[in-house]
């Protein structure tokens, strides 16, 4: 079932600004992952954070996880036009399936 819920649904910023997206989920998790989807394409894995981690960095990406609030945030620093895409959080609780949220649509204008 859909676990994650991203916020905001849509975000529009200018190049160079930071973009922050949030994800809330419902049940306990093993890990939380963020994916990116360019228009009309498949999803690409960006970063994974385990339930015992609080923060993780990868290049211009910073992910935080607060298991007490059942929430995560994805920060993209110094955004570029090429970052324009939809971003999804996905959780794995038990079993095999990844449960995705509805996504945040990010538009970065030059």
């Amino acid at each position: 079932s859909q676990q994650g819920e991203e916020d905001p649904q849509a975000l529009s910023i200018q190049e160079g600004e930071n973009a922050t997206m949030n994800c809330s989920y419902k049940t306990s998790i093993n890990n939380l992952q963020w994916y990116r989807q360019n228009s009309g394409r498949g999803l690409v894995h960006l970063i994974l954070i385990r339930s015992n981690e609080r923060e993780k960095h990868s290049g211009r990406l910073r992910v935080t996880l607060d298991t007490s609030k059942k929430s995560s945030s994805l920060l993209i620093t110094a955004s570029r036009a090429a970052d324009t895409a939809s971003y999804f959080c996905a959780t794995v609780s038990s079993g095999y399936a990844l449960n995705f949220g509805k996504g945040t649509s990010l538009l970065v204008t030059p």
Partner: protein, 110 residues
Amino acid sequence: DVKVTQSSRYLVKRTGEKVFLECVQDMDHENMFWYRQDPGLGLRLIYFSYDVKMKEKGDIPEGYSVSREKKERFSLILESASTNQTSMYLCASRSILEAFFGQGTRLTVV
């Protein structure tokens, strides 16, 4: 370079037709998934498979079936296509940590 390949990018079928969507992965993953993606609804899990000949229903299995005769191939079958099955279909396979997606099949049922 790891790869998940879906047999078609675009497909147009008539109501009542039996439709096969094929997905092949080259990563020797045990877990494979079929999602459909609709505007405003995000990704919804249709079926997944955790081994050859093993399958589990996801959140929206009605009107669909699947086949996994070989580890690398996971097929989604629409037994009798209907217009409400017009959607983007995404196949994924999963390692221990992350999921890899195909490029998606945009199916239109007329």
